[in-house]
């Protein structure tokens, strides 16, 4: 199995989620994160003080998939999350040795 981690723009979450479920991927875990990268941030001013904010709100989607479905998962995410502008985000794929479903104790592909 592989863990596909996608960091995307928050308002794209819904589209990405449905793109993945369309592939029959029934589960994922989402985290609100702050991202730093090429996309420039903004400046905030509070009375005398000015702050350049370089971290931008992003959403991290983690989905564990059978090794076979990695490519279409990645493809689906790219298609759904792309706006063509800087800051669209990244997708990272890494290996997962083992998976367990807590409720049943099922493991690996059966667990996801």
């Amino acid at each position: 199995m592989k863990l596909v981690t996608a960091i995307i723009k928050p308002f794209k979450l819904e589209e990405v989620r449905s793109a993945l479920t369309d592939l029959g991927l029934q589960g994922m875990t989402v985290t609100e994160v702050k991202g730093y990268g090429r996309q420039k941030g903004h400046t905030e001013i509070y009375r005398g003080a000015e702050y350049a904010v370089s971290f931008l709100p992003k959403v991290k989607i983690e989905v564990v998939v059978p090794s076979g479905s990695v490519d279409k998962a990645v493809e689906a995410i790219v298609r759904a999350a792309r706006t063509g502008q800087i800051g669209d985000g990244k997708i990272f794929v890494s290996a997962v040795d083992q998976a367990v479903r807590v409720r049943t104790g099922e493991t690996d592909d059966a667990a996801i």
Binding site: F11, E14, H42, T43, E44, I45, Y46, Q85
Partner: protein, 490 residues
Amino acid sequence: MNFGTPRRIATAAILGGLVWMLAAPAFAQTPTPTPPVPNKGDTAWMLSATVLVLLMTVPGLALFYGGLVRTKNMLSILMQVFYCVCIVSVIWVLYGYSLAFSEGGSFNSFVGGFSKAFLIGITPDSMAETFSDGVVIPEMVYICFQMTFAAITPALIVGALAERMKFAALALFIPLWATFVYFPIAHMVWYWAGPSATVAAAKALAAAGPEAKAAAQAAMDAVSANAGLAFQWGAIDFAGGTVVHINSGIAGLMGALLIGKRVGYGREAMPPHSLTMTMIGAALLWVGWFGFNAGSALEANGSAALAMLNTFVATAAAALAWLVTENVVKGKPSLLGGVTGAVAGLVAVTPAAGFAGPMGAIILGIVAGVICFIACSAVKNALGYDDALDVFGVHCVGGIVGAIGTGILVAPYLGGTGIFDYTTGKIADYSMATQVIAQIKAVCLTLVWSGVGSAILYTVVRALVGLRLGVDQEREGLDLVDHGERAYNY
């Protein structure tokens, strides 16, 4: 009571003078009247009432609205409401009060004049009449009290344009709207010659001998004619159902239609970012509304007491009605539903506060709660406009229910107070048909004037500075784009 307002001293002076002159022979012995002294109890209550109405607006209304938007637009709402209060307060003393509550010469049916611009000639000793002959309060208190009405009305519009109208556009729109829509409507509905001139003229007429009859009648007519259009029609509006709620509600709808839907409307979820703030705001609206309604009696008397009682029970009844309806239709009673119902009740009871009896107020509240629920769910979804915070559904619809309901519930045989006739010195005979028609005419006048006027002003503003930001900016949120701040940094 605002179905009329303290007259412009000057006007009355003239008319009054005329009247006395004519009447002179009739009651030679009458001592010359001494200028009335304000009762400090009335002044004390009006000072408190004025503060309460500000509390309604900031923080009340600002929070009620702010809690309903997404975090990224919170400050824009707070700012827009706060800005309304500031800009309108200033133009109110510069020329607003004069346009609303001074005599407008040949335009007097529609708007006042500039004789009180910059509050010329008004000192701490200037007095304004209440609704009782010979009872006055310091005019400066009256100016402050009415200022808070002028401030909250445009602020109500903000809700319909929430999360998308850019600040520059609003900053321009508000003073224009106050000038061309609010001040005239306030004049049309609330301006009149005042009790003492009316009573004096009536007395004179009664006392006038045959030779003086015609002149006295002319004076009487002059006094009666010295009032705003809707007032002349006989429409009654205790605390502003037409002037405040229908007025802002229709302006909001126009705005929602002209400015278009929020980016992502219908596709993305847009849940309220903090119903806690919305509840605080709703509660403060209720609390402050007692200043709004009971203060509109202009005295600390039984009429204020009745208005307070009605403002309690109509609101409570409307909240309960909404909760029950929601429970039946949606399966669950929600806090947002409850407080929205309460606001609907407050809106509906506004014109009726000092006219209906408590039981009538309960009925009015129930009706308003149910109708506004339908307006904010079924109707709105059917028509598909994006009135972001339901300004139309609650304020315009609720205001119409209240304005018409007032015409019915004022009926003495329904527990209402009836309408006092200053010329006869007692409650006038009541005809429901007549009164309801007068109410409907006032409603239509407001819908048309405000609807058309607002549409024109939005178009002007769009031409000058545009109404919206870019899509990406709207996505980022108005707080950062318009104001360079974020509401929360937890």
